[in-house]
Amino acid sequence: MKAVSLPRDDGSIAAPPDQAVGRSKFVTDILPPLLSAVIGFGLWEGLVRYYAVAPYVLPAPSLVFVELIRNAHYLLTQLGWTVLAAASGVVLAIVLGVLAGALVGLSSTADRMLTPWLVVVHAVPKVVVAPLFLIWFGFGVQSEIFFVVTFTFFPIVVATITGLKSADPDVLQMVRSMGASRTQVLRKIMFPAALPIILSGIKLSISLAPVGAVIGEFVASNQGLGHLLIRAVGDMDTALAFAAVTLFSIFGVLLWRAAEFVEGRLLPWHPSQRG
C-alpha cells in the first residue's frame, strides 16, 4: 500500500485515508456490549417464562418495560421530586463543603479545631441516622434535603482540603517573589490548582445525591422514587418497583455523563481531559 502520511507545514500528520474505520469500530466497540445485553435480557426473559416465575417475585424484562411505558407519567413525576430534593441538597452541600474545606485548608487553627469533628461525624454511617432526621426536621422534603446534604457533604470537604494543599510549592514561591498578595495567591494559584480535585469531589457527591434522596424518601416523604418503591413493594407490585429502579439507574448514568461534560468544559487543560 502506498498510503504515506507526510507531516504538513504545521507539523501535524495528515490522517491516512481509511474507509474501514467505520465498520471496524462497530465490530469492536458497539457489537460486544449489544450482544451481551441481548443475551443477558434473553436469558432473564427465557428463564422467567420457562419456570413460570411469579411476576411479584421476579418480573420478566418485557413486563418491566411495559410497566415503565404504562406508568411513564407517574414515574417521571416521582423522579422529578427525587431529582429536585437531590439537586437542592447537593447544591447546599457544595456551598457548605467548599466553605468548610476552604476554612480548614487555609487556616491551621480552623484545621485543628474542625478536623476532629469532621472525622468523628464522617465516621457515623449516614444511613443509620436517617430515621433521626424525621425527629429533627419532621416529615417532608426538608428532611430529605438535609439528609442529602449530610450524605454528600464530606467528599466535597475532603476534596477541597486536599485540593488547596496541592498547589506546587515552587509556583507559590515564584508568585510571592513577584509580590503577589495573599488574596492573589489564593485566586490565581491555589484555587485553580485545587479545582480539578474539588470537581472530582463534587462529581462523587452528585452521584451520591440521588441515593441519599431515595433513602430520605424511604423514611420521611410521601413523594419521590423512594416513596414509590416502598409503596410498590408494599403492594407486591414488583414490576413497578423494577421500572422505578430502571428509571433511577438511567438517570444516574445520565447524571454522571453530565458531570463529566461540565468537568471537561471547566478543565480543558487538565491531564484527565486531554484528548
Binding site: M174, R176, M178, G179, P192, H270
Partner: protein, 272 residues
C-alpha cells in the same frame, strides 16, 4: 581562604555603580546539632548592567546565594544590598527564572506571560502588546493560545523567560534555567539569552553548573567551590557581543574554560 580569590575585574571599583553588593555573607542551615554551612563569607559586587555567571559544583550553595539576593531567604550573617538598600523580602523590580519553567497549566501561553503584570495590577492593552512582542521575539509567537502541555520543554522555558522579562525588571536572577533541556536546545537558549542580555543590558545573574554556558553568556564568571560555598575565582569575559556558538572553539574561550576547570581540579570537585 581569601588568598585563593583572584579578582580580575576592575569595572566594579566604583561602589555607587554597583547593583548588588554582598559583604561577608554566610548562610547556615539546620539546628545546632546538624548545622550545615552552605555559604561561608562571600564578598561580591555586581555592577549595573553586567551579566554575571556563578558556576560551581552541585551543593556549592550557588542557588542559596541566589535565594539570598532575591530576598527569599535571609543570610545567617553579613549584609546584602541591592541599589544601596538592604534586602528584606522579595524585590519589586526583580524577576527570577527557575530550573523548572513553573508555567501554570490552566493558563494559555499569553496569560502565563501576563501573570506578573496581573499581580502588579497592570493587565492593560500595553502589557498584552508587550507580551505578544516578547513571545514573537522568542519564537513562540504562534503559540500564544496554546496551553503549556502542548509545548516542548525548550518552548516552555522560552515562555518562562518571556514572562520574567515582561515587567522590564532591572535585575534578572536565573537558577540553572536550562539544566533540564537537551544539549542542542540548551545551546540555542544560550544564544538567545546572550542576545536578549546584549540588547537590554539588564543586570543578570545566571547560576549554572555548566562551565561552557557560564562563560558563553556572561561578562564575568564567578567560580565557587564545593560546600561550604566560597568564591575561588572571578574572571572577566570580554568577548564582543553578539556572540556565536563558534566562539566556544576559539583558543581564548578554551583558555577561560580550562582555567575554571583547573580551579575545580584544585579543590577536588572534579576528582574522586
Amino acid at each position: 581562604m581569601a588568598a585563593s580569590v583572584q579578582p580580575s575585574v576592575s569595572g566594579h571599583a566604583n561602589a555607587a555603580a554597583d547593583k548588588i553588593v554582598l559583604s561577608k555573607v554566610r548562610k547556615v542551615y539546620g539546628g545546632a546539632a546538624g548545622a550545615v554551612e552552605a555559604i561561608s563569607s562571600v564578598d561580591l559586587s555586581l555592577p549595573e548592567g553586567q551579566a554575571v555567571s556563578i558556576v560551581g559544583p552541585s551543593g556549592c550553595g550557588k542557588s542559596t546565594l541566589m535565594r539570598l539576593i532575591a530576598g527569599l531567604e535571609a543570610p545567617s550573617s553579613g549584609a546584602i544590598t541591592v541599589d544601596g538598600r538592604a534586602v528584606a523580602g522579595p524585590l519589586s523590580d526583580m524577576s527570577i527564572v527557575f530550573q523548572r519553567d513553573l508555567l501554570l497549566d490552566w493558563r494559555n501561553v499569553l496569560d502565563n506571560v501576563l501573570l506578573p503584570a496581573e499581580i502588579k495590577g497592570l493587565n492593560g492593552p500595553q502589557s498584552r502588546q508587550r507580551a505578544g512582542e516578547l513571545l514573537k521575539q522568542f519564537g513562540v509567537g504562534d503559540f500564544s493560545r496554546h496551553f503549556p502541555w502542548q509545548l516542548s520543554g525548550g518552548m516552555r522555558q522560552r515562555v518562562a523567560i518571556a514572562r520574567s522579562l515582561l515587567p522590564s525588571p532591572s535585575l534578572i536572577l536565573m537558577d540553572e534555567p536550562f539544566s533540564a533541556l537537551d544539549a542542542m536546545t540548551r545551546d540555542k537558549m544560550n544564544v538567545l539569552l546572550q542576545e536578549v542580555q546584549s540588547a537590554s543590558r539588564v543586570t543578570t545573574l545566571l547560576i549554572t553548573h555548566s562551565i561552557l554556558e557560564a562563560v558563553f553568556v556572561a561578562d564575568r564568571v564567578v567560580v565557587m567551590s564545593g560546600r561550604p560555598g566560597r568564591i575561588i575565582d572571578d574572571i572577566a569575559v570580554e568577548f564582543p557581543r553578539p556572540r556565536r556558538l563558534s566562539l566556544r572553539e576559539t583558543p581564548e574561550f578554551t583558555a577561560i574554560v580550562g582555567r575554571i576547570r583547573q580551579q575545580f581540579e584544585k579543590t577536588g570537585d572534579l576528582t574522586e
